[in-house]
């Protein structure tokens, strides 16, 4: 792993600004069969930046107005 990439990873565990020390991170890979660790770190950094700037808002909502059916209905 390159030294710059290692530096980015190390900073994640040190915690800075809004972010406390990292406890776990995992990825749902996308449509490309070939991704690099640097690209995945960039995705993490983009999301961090959006949350920090308020462009992306944390929410407890996800499912919209789903109509739930019970067995036998």
């Amino acid at each position: 792993m390159s030294s710059s990439k290692s530096h980015i990873v190390a900073s994640l565990f040190a915690g800075s600004g809004k972010w406390g020390p990292l406890g776990n991170v995992k990825f749902f890979l996308g449509t490309s069969r070939s991704v690099t660790g640097t690209q995945l770190l960039d995705q993490l950094a983009r999301a961090d930046a959006q949350v920090e700037s308020g462009v992306a808002q944390r929410t407890t909502k996800l499912d919209g107005d789903l109509t739930v059916t019970t067995f036998g209905d």
């Binding site: 406390g20 776990n24 995992k26 749902f28 929410t59 996800l62």
Partner: protein, 198 residues
């Protein structure tokens, strides 16, 4: 904290589609001790690279108070990612809350190893527990979104040709491409082994 407890809870609901925000997340918080679990829609994720990720971290709540465990499930808002895929991505990432200590990327060396494995997938018998959890959580998510009693109902309707795969996916609000895995003979075995803690 146990996936089995979550699974049994969801299976006992006898309802579909399984709603993540009102059913799954509250139960996970109860079981896991996570202080806060959030979804975060992000419009700058490149879906060729990643559809989403989970980030868990500690956040101080005040000078004299303990820090909290925060879980953020970040997902791509790209319109190419359908509602059903969004639910599946987020459910799969939620399942990482159940990661064992070996499966968590908890330090620099472990995350660097995980990134290198995602870049160049290793042979399965050489893969880290972190890497293996990426596959296992997909089965866990399917089990939550369609537990075995529910799956039996839909399997019978598929076999009777009362419903097709798309209609099953639509009813469960899961991606159509996951229906084959859900209905495969391996699914029951995977869920059984997960419930037995294997």
């Amino acid at each position: 904290m146990s996936y089995k407890d979550l699974y049994n809870y969801v299976a006992g609901l006898n309802e579909y589609p399984v709603v993540l925000e009102t059913r799954v997340v509250p139960k996970i918080k109860e079981l896991s001790g996570q202080d806060e679990v959030y979804f975060v829609p992000v419009d700058q994720l490149d879906i060729s690279i990643s559809l989403g990720h989970i980030k868990q971290y500690r956040q101080a709540t005040g000078v004299y108070s303990d820090s909290q465990w925060i879980t953020e499930i970040r997902y791509a808002t790209n319109p190419a990612v359908t509602f059903c895929w969004r639910r599946f991505v987020c459910c799969k990432e939620l399942m990482h809350i159940f990661d064992s200590p070996n499966e968590r990327a908890t330090d620099q060396a472990k995350l660097e190893l995980l990134l290198s494995e995602l870049e160049t997938p290793p042979p399965w018998d050489k893969a880290s527990d972190m890497y293996k959890s990426e596959t296992r959580t997909q089965w866990m998510a399917l089990g939550v979104l369609c537990p075995l009693p529910l799956r039996e109902q839909f399997r019978a309707k598929l076999e009777a040709e009362d419903l097709n795969k798309y209609q099953v996916a639509l009813a469960l609000r899961i991606p159509e491409t996951t229906v084959d895995s859900l209905m495969s003979p391996y699914f029951e075995g995977f869920i059984t082994s997960l419930l037995n803690g294997e």
